[in-house]
């Protein structure tokens, strides 16, 4: 479901380190160290990391992974704007569900880690789908 991390540094971008990486075990999409919390994510218009203009976050919900029925994590994200959000999670594994508002001309929306590089977490094919999710293990 997740986009698979593509980490490229952006010349001139803020030097904040990227902390989310693909999960080594393969059980989850990504992993991040609890000491690197909070992690920030951003919604982008294209591969270059340009903030989204044809889509915006509608909701972001975090659930404890592998729970049935899904157990929602309260208070997450800790902050959210139209194109950015911040997650502050304890050790554990989580599903991050994202729903977007989109304009008719939106073609693809990209969710990246908001850091000094381009760390892609999710792609959403917006004309045919407005939701997406990725799983995240906090170690």
């Amino acid at each position: 479901m997740a986009g698979g991390a593509q980490s490229n540094s952006v010349p001139g971008a803020a030097a904040a380190a990227c902390n989310i990486s693909p999960d080594a075990s393969g059980q989850f999409d990504f992993q991040v160290n609890a000491s690197n919390m909070p992690v920030k994510i951003k919604l982008c218009e294209d591969h270059s990391g340009k903030p989204a203009t044809t889509s915006s976050f509608n909701t972001i919900e975090v659930y404890v992974a592998l729970t049935n029925p899904a157990q929602k994590v309260p208070g997450q994200p800790t902050s959210m704007t139209a194109t950015t959000a911040s997650l502050n999670l304890q050790k554990g594994s989580y599903d991050v569900d994202i729903a977007l508002n989109t304009l008719p001309n939106s073609m693809v929306a990209f969710v990246y880690e908001d850091c000094g590089g381009l760390n892609q977490l999710l792609r959403i094919p917006t004309p045919v789908k407005v939701t997406g999710h990725f799983s995240l293990k906090v170690t």
Binding site: N58, A99, N101, V108, R123, P125, P127, V128, K129
Partner: protein, 590 residues
């Protein structure tokens, strides 16, 4: 002779016909890709999406649905009906009568019209007598838009989603350009009555009465609006609730994941899961035939889908092993359709896919309805036909310009009593509206000196300043935001105002002495009207609005001296009844 001629034509055209038949057969064999599948291929070729997005049916669910389930639209429609529910929405636009109507509180018309609204107003701008009016208006997309938003009609948000029998976004955008409304005069008598009295019996006297004049409904005006230059769509701060879409996606994920136990009703059995993963890897993700060049060739979409993607239907529903070789036979449409007899876990896949498409349809309809409501037209044309009581009917042709500007205010969500976010936030600080209009008598007055068909020229401007009162404690959530509007309106009368008089019948609210018994027409002194109004509108962005105004004018249509007057009203925006989502307004208005 004729037969011979026919034979020679057949002989001459035989090779051509054979070629044509061959070409047609070839065309028939080259299957057309479902639009959603074509979209994926196009975006993969551009490197915006990856082959792993196509191979994941949870992501490419629309493509999967178009291949396997589109031929059974009744399934989706039943899912849509199951989702139909009443929720809340809103819009902010002019809901009252047009300028020319007696009783209006607005000197300047707004370009847009709400989905559907009802307004009761007391006042009048250029009329000499104050009246009570009731205005009902709607845009033509109101009903189909509401049906789509509630799930009674499938909705196709774009060309990539093709649900049979759906109402399309482009159709609703066109219909949204048209608005219609009528204003009824509710304070004047709807019909005149005349009669004659019999001989007095003491202090009482019997009278024989009958209707006088027209018995048609008393409408003071009817109007139509056409948006010439639509406003820009802006993303709402708070969109429709996506819960159903998220639930459907989770449902689909579970249906395509490994079954938790043998005989589970949800999830793929181990052997099917293995074949599904095999299909993902060999047919899609590592398929050497799916090169960017091949994927960017629109003529090959159909073949590639039929050859490789469609096999997922055989894998999931026919226990087939995928054939991903370049020599694989493209599946015919009927072979890639979900069978009618299914195991419980297969039913869960079908249900999840249908649920996703149904919830997407409804979410898309609600979101687009919000986008259309919030897009204030930049330039509109309005036609009003005015039928004031005891006056000749007139037609007004009006151009309406509108521009919102300034910083966004009310960017923080107001909290409702339940603690959830209120829907209407983020409006522009200022909105400027300009009107230019010409008003014509529908029939040229023949017996009034100096009168012609052209009655008057009108121009008006209104500056609205929005205030974020919705976040005020205690009463904020009830009142919503408010607007202070300053209006200047000018009317250059080219022909005098005319009153139609019926001998022996008093004019409502007007008392003229010294009229000759033969007089049928009274006309006033013509002259320019300058009108200034200060209006405070409570409830910007709320369904119920209360405009209160005080105004001054140098004269009115009949009276030639200056006067102060007051206007007030209440209006209800029915959009909330038609829309099934909680909405956010990104425009300003009142």
């Amino acid at each position: 002779m004729i037969m011979r001629g026919c034979r020679s034509i057949i002989q001459l055209t035989g090779p051509t016909l054979l070629g044509l038949i061959f070409a047609l057969t070839g065309a028939a064999n080259s299957q057309e890709a479902p639009p959603a599948c074509g979209y994926f291929m196009q975006e993969i070729a551009k490197n915006n999406l990856k082959l792993s997005d196509l191979s994941n049916v949870t992501i490419s669910v629309a493509c999967f649905w178009e291949i396997s389930l589109q031929s059974q639209p009744q399934l989706l429609q039943s899912r849509l009906r199951a989702e139909a529910a009443v929720q809340k929405g809103t819009a902010t636009t002019q809901t009252g009568a047009p300028t020319g109507a007696n009783g209006t509180t607005s000197a300047v018309s707004k370009g847009n019209t709400p989905l559907a609204s009802l307004a009761s107003e007391y006042g009048g701008v250029t009329s000499s007598t104050s009246n009570q009016t009731m205005t009902i208006q709607a845009t033509l997309d109101g009903i189909p838009s509401a049906l789509g938003g509630k799930g009674f009609l499938p909705y196709c948000r774009n060309a990539f989603l093709t649900i049979p029998g759906c109402v399309s976004a482009s159709t609703l955008r066109r219909l949204n350009r048209f608005g219609l409304g009528v204003t009824a005069n509710t304070s004047s008598p709807s019909q005149n009555i005349s009669g004659s009295a019999s001989t007095p019996q003491g202090t009482s006297q019997q009278a024989s009465l009958k209707s006088a004049g027209s018995t048609a409904p008393s409408l003071s005006s009817a109007f139509g609006k056409f948006t010439i230059w639509p406003g820009e769509y802006k993303l709402p701060k708070t969109g429709p609730p996506p819960d159903k879409v998220i639930d459907a996606e989770r449902e689909l994920d579970s249906a395509l994941a490994a079954a938790q136990s043998t005989g589970a009703t949800v999830g793929l059995p181990p052997e099917t899961l293995q074949r599904y993963k095999d299909w993902q890897a060999r047919c899609i993700e590592n398929n050497p035939s799916l090169t960017p060049t091949a994927l960017s060739d629109k003529k090959r979409y159909g073949e590639l889908v039929a050859k490789y993607y469609s096999q997922v239907v055989r894998v999931l529903f026919y226990n087939s092993t995928p054939d991903c070789s370049p020599s694989a036979t493209p599946l015919k449409a009927e072979d890639a359709t979900v069978p009618t007899t299914l195991t419980p876990w297969q039913q869960s896949i079908v249900k999840a896919a249908e649920d996703y498409m149904a919830s997407m349809s409804r979410f898309g309809a609600q979101l687009d309805q919000m986008l259309r409501s919030a897009a204030t037209p930049v330039l509109s044309f309005e036609y009003d036909i005015n039928t004031p009581t005891n006056q000749p009917t007139t037609s007004t042709y009006k151009l309406v310009g509108n521009k919102a500007f300034g910083s966004k205010i009310c960017t923080k969500n107001a909290k409702t009593k339940k603690g959830s976010d209120s829907s209407t936030v983020a409006v522009n600080r200022f909105t400027e509206t300009i009107n230019i209009a010409g008003n014509l008598y529908n029939s040229a007055p023949t017996n009034v000196p100096g009168a012609g068909t052209f009655r008057d020229l009108q121009a008006g401007t209104e500056t609205d300043i929005a205030f974020c009162t919705s976040t005020a404690r205690v009463i904020g959530s009830f009142l919503g935001n408010s607007t202070l509007g300053l209006t200047y309106y000018y009317q250059d009368q080219k022909s005098p105002s005319i009153l139609k008089v019926t001998p022996g019948m008093p004019l409502p609210g007007i008392n003229i002495t010294g009229l000759a018994s033969t007089t049928s027409t009274v006309f006033a002194t013509k002259g320019p009207i300058n009108f200034v109004q200060l209006k405070y509108g409570l409830g910007t962005g709320k369904n119920v609005k209360f405009p209160i105004a005080v105004s001054w004018s140098n004269r009115t249509d009949l009276i030639t001296h200056s006067l102060w007057s007051a206007q007030f009203g209440v209006s209800y925006d029915f959009s909330s009844l038609l829309n099934s989502s909680s909405s956010t307004d990104t425009s300003s208005g009142k």
